[in-house]
Point group: C3
Chain length 216, copies 3
């Protein structure tokens, strides 16, 4: 059974690669970017959430920056998309599935890292969700979109649920994620996200809003 | 007479609540957000300035993140707005007054925290203003608006004045805010902001700008 | 021969001034800003890249914030632009040349600071480029533009080349920049950037993109 650190690292690198592919594909589809933009936006989507988490924890330099493997994987993902964009974009829902995978893995690994660094359970759940949604939020801000997490579909909610399961399943004593709980947590987050996408489920919106009257 | 730390905390929590209400109301009025967006934008407006300040001071994790009361108050404010949006938005200028209250309180508490952590007077004044305007700036960037602080009305200027009064009134020796000076500083900032709103006062703009010629 | 620290400081302050002028001019030309906005956007363009670098290195408070000279030079640049905007904007390509100067100096000094703080060569090159492009990226996000570095012309590439030359020319033992290598590195970056501007060179774009089909 792998140690908690190795588990975190492997899941983290898979999530990094998924988000890098997603970020680079999204960049090409929404903005007028060159190779620098494709790779940069892929990398920021991939490592941005972890950087925000580590800044908030004061664990600097961030893990995603100190360990060359994160940036290597993130750059490779962006470069692959730049080279094989047409082939990749034929796989029609690939962006959504990659995004759900990154979301699920980062919610779990982000919560695990917060626990390792001494954060309490509530902090760890919140930081798991921030790790999961942070990179995509930075990407959206950079390409001039209102971040999807604020408005569309179930996105932060599965991340919070996944992080909560991971934290509840961790061994209280030393704050390590349990392997079984981590896998269940990621699977539940992934499942909620994909079900939400398939049935176009939405989080509740403010009631009684009259756009013509209430908006500035 | 309360200690400086208790004073800072109480003023900070009141400012946090005011900014959370303001941020959530602004979110509903300017973007197409769901409950996650309302609460997130309320919370970011409320704790964003303090987080930027603490990152710049290297005081990590940020106070607004380490102490659960900030996030609890911020989340409660956003949730209240989500539930009672129609009732709250009838109070027509409530957004502006709440915003002025948060601005004033954070200018003072932000400067106080900078002094406590060993910042010099100039740094403390600047960090007070950054604490005051930072959260609203993040909110505006996330909803795709040019931050109001850069363009409209007297906003950063009262924050700088309030922070300066608080710093000048602090006991030089141990860098603590004086209670009287803190109250006067917040009141002056609040007054300048409301007078500016009422008479639509503007900070000077560049002269001789010909938009049809000079703009890109 | 000046010490590495003095060399870094002097080049850094010149770059800060160039970027402050550039940022303030850009602010006036692209957004509806008042004096607060002009000075703030000038200062953020000037010190933003260095702040991002120092946050990523965990060297907090950031050098550009701890040392009053950075903020004094940055504020002075913004104020000069506010006062003499019409005269300055007659020098037609002045924005581009100032920007290229800031880019070159910050790529070198950013890499040097990363080495001083114990970063490896790859990290130092990346952090040099981040220092060079970070301030302008923050400025663009604040005025609502997609950051130029993602889409237009040769911008990140000369910064990466300049940072790489500076790192390769540093004395391996103590991680200090060599004076000659630093000057060559900045000159090469500056040259590539200006040649790129003059001939409107572009980095490669994704091939086979059909905007009407592929975009969201």
């Amino acid at each position: 059974m792998p140690s908690a650190s190795v588990l975190l690292l492997v899941l983290d690198l898979i999530g990094t690669f998924a988000f890098a592919l997603n970020g680079a594909l999204t960049a090409i589809r929404t903005a007028h970017v060159d190779i620098v933009g494709v790779i940069t936006l892929g990398a920021i989507t991939a490592v941005g959430g972890g950087i925000i988490r580590d800044v908030l924890l004061g664990a600097l330099p961030p893990a995603t920056f100190r360990d060359w493997r994160y940036l290597a994987v993130a750059t490779a993902g962006g470069l692959l998309v730049f080279l094989f964009f047409r082939a990749l974009s034929r796989i029609i829902r690939v962006i959504d599935v990659l995004d759900a995978a990154g979301l699920s893995l980062f919610a779990v690994t982000g919560a695990g890292r917060a626990l390792q660094l001494g954060g309490g359970p509530a902090q760890a759940i919140l930081l798991g969700a921030i790790t999961a949604v942070g990179g995509g939020t930075l990407r959206d801000v950079l390409v001039g979109r209102v971040p999807g997490v604020l408005s569309s579909g179930l996105y932060a909610i599965p991340a919070l649920v996944g992080a909560a399961i991971a934290v509840l399943g961790s061994s209280g004593g030393d704050g390590r994620l349990g392997l079984v709980a981590a896998v269940i947590a990621a699977a539940v987050c992934f499942g909620i996200r994909l079900v939400g996408l398939h049935f176009d489920l939405q989080a509740p919106r403010p009631r009684g809003l009259r756009p013509d009257v209430d908006r500035d």
